[in-house]
């Protein structure tokens, strides 16, 4: 690999590892310092390697430089503290002796611990996702701004506030105790789920970036399955869900980057390997006696990957949506349930159920009604689709709706 490609590659894979270890050594109040230290390390790499060539083991070079920078800082801090506040001399002397441990095991542990620290319900979900992308996924501020369709300043502000809050609340960088893990891991899973959805359903037109977000969410979830403490059934269920969804990556976007609806996809493009992986994680999730919402969603996603028995498939999906909704209501589950109901009992029955949902401000509600009415009442179907178009804020969705309107319009004029 050339230096030009090597540094961005190493940035993606190593920034997060070194930053997590440094955060853990320096404490939650110094996340920004850790980021800067690692950032400086990469700048120095770019300068030095450009002049002297790439070292034999580039990652080790980065670790050594980052480690020395951190130690220098701690030494300077220790001197500073000794002059300013002799009463904490002892603790700073301890700090002075801190070993910055960049072994594979400590890297893994530090990343897991940072995951729990960042997925802290005291900061808003977008900030948890943003910080996760920065600290756990090595995204640059620009990339995060792209992902959220906003600017650098907004992201910097958001992350700054989040870090201040973590500091204020003295959030600890550690794995929760055995008795707390189930509750705490829920926050982590929610953030990973949102991160994945940000990629899978986001408004962003950049298909590469979107796929990256999904893959990062999967990598982090996978990391949780590798540690005995965090390898919980719900984690495996979430990972199964992600595998099943991402098996359709290639099939759901056409060569122009436009969305292809599930019904219209070329099923031969579905990734069998990811489906099999998903099945494996779903089996692993089937232990214990607690069913998380990820279990239901993973089972629903599993049935979506099957093609051999349409009738059974939609009956199962309907039944699973019923059970998911009884556990936890969400508008999207309510709409999807009604779609499944139409597949089993027909559009007429589904329209009656759909109109009870009262989700008039939701563009997907009107999309659904547009779909359900398109057999019996074209005029009504088109009206709903126009309503959907008005409410939709995502370019890719708008395009799908427009296509549908023009298709129905042609039928109407026949």
């Amino acid at each position: 690999m050339q230096e030009k490609e090597l540094i961005p590659y190493l940035y993606r894979t190593e920034f997060r590892k070194i930053t997590a270890v440094l955060c853990r050594s320096l404490g939650i109040e110094h996340i920004s310092i850790a980021e800067d230290l690692v950032g400086d390390t990469f700048l120095l790499a770019a300068e030095t390697w450009g002049l002297k060539g790439i070292p034999q083991n580039p990652a080790a070079w980065l670790y050594t430089v980052a480690k020395n920078k951190a130690k220098d800082l701690l030494k300077r801090n220790a001197l500073f503290s000794q002059k300013i506040s002799p009463q904490i001399q002892y603790s700073t002397e301890d700090k002075h002796e801190i070993e910055i441990d960049l072994s594979a095991k400590n890297i893994q542990d530090s990343q897991l611990q940072m995951m729990f620290a960042i997925c802290y319900p005291g900061i808003p979900p977008e900030a948890q996702i943003g910080l996760s992308l920065r600290i756990l996924c090595s995204f640059s501020i620009d990339e995060i701004a792209d992902a959220f369709l906003t600017n650098k300043e907004a992201i910097n502000k958001r992350l700054y506030r989040a870090k201040e809050k973590l500091k204020q609340d003295n959030v600890r960088i550690e794995l929760p105790s055995e008795s707390e893990i189930d509750k705490r891991i829920e926050n982590v899973l929610t953030t990973l789920y949102l991160l994945f959805n940000e990629g899978y359903y986001s408004s962003n037109n950049n298909a590469v970036l979107r796929k990256d977000l999904c893959l990062e969410a999967m990598r982090l979830t996978h990391m949780l399955t590798e540690n005995e403490t965090t390898n919980k059934p719900a984690v495996n269920a979430l990972l199964a869900l992600m595998c099943f969804h991402s098996s359709r990556f290639e099939a759901r976007i056409d060569s122009n980057g436009e969305l292809i609806l599930y019904e219209d996809q070329d099923t031969s493009l579905w990734n069998r390997e990811l489906i099999i992986q998903g099945e494996r994680y779903l089996n692993k999730a089937s232990t214990g006696n607690y069913l998380s919402k990820y279990h239901w969603e993973a089972a629903i996603a599993y049935w979506h990957t099957t093609t051999n028995n349409e009738e059974q498939k939609w009956e199962k999906i309907l039944s699973l949506y019923n059970q998911l909704l009884m556990t936890e209501y969400s508008p999207i589950a309510a709409l999807n349930r009604t779609y499944a109901l139409s597949k089993v009992y027909g559009n007429e029955e589904a329209i009656i159920e759909a109109e009870k949902l009262k989700l008039d401000n939701n563009h997907l509600y009107h999309c659904l009604l547009g779909e359900l009415y398109s057999d019996a009442d074209l005029q009504k179907a088109i009206e709903h689709l126009h309503q959907a178009l008005k409410l939709s804020r995502v370019a890719a969705d708008k395009k799908v709706i427009k296509n549908k309107i023009s298709k129905l319009g042609k039928l109407k004029n026949v």
């Binding site: 309907l318 039944s319 949506y321 019923n322 059970q323 909704l325 009884m326 209501y329 589950a333 309510a334 349930r337 009604t338 109901l341 159920e353 009870k356 949902l357 009262k358």
Partner: protein
């Protein structure tokens, strides 16, 4: 929104089927009906099915067998829904599968107890 109890009355239905894990086997009709309520975000709790074992205790330690010693109709279970009004709740109960087998649904508003 207020909360209402849906109390399902019917003739005793005989043996109650359980899955190997000990969960109640719910018929497709019941599941779809309950799922439809949940899809409207009006399900507070699917509640519980009452079993067939029962005793009634009366003053003076008089104990009778079964929940249905003197009446043919028993309470088979109950759920809790959320609705704007009792009329709205009535609307929700309208398609309850128990109505197809000669049963009925009693709808009662719920008053929370403190402590």
């Amino acid at each position: 929104m207020k909360e209402f109890a849906m109390i399902y009355h019917s003739e005793p239905m005989g043996e109650i089927k359980l899955t190997p894990e000990g969960n109640l086997v719910v018929s497709k009709e019941w599941e779809n009906w309950m799922g439809g309520i949940a899809a409207q975000n009006k399900l507070v709790s699917p509640g519980m099915r009452l079993g067939n074992e029962g005793r009634t205790i009366k003053p003076g330690n008089v104990i009778t067998n079964g929940p249905y010693a003197e009446v043919k109709e028993i309470v088979g279970g109950l759920s809790i829904f959320r609705a704007e009004s009792i009329e709205d709740a009535l609307e929700l109960a309208n398609n309850c599968p128990i109505l197809n087998v000669g049963g009925n649904v009693e709808i009662r508003d719920i008053i929370q107890m403190n402590g």
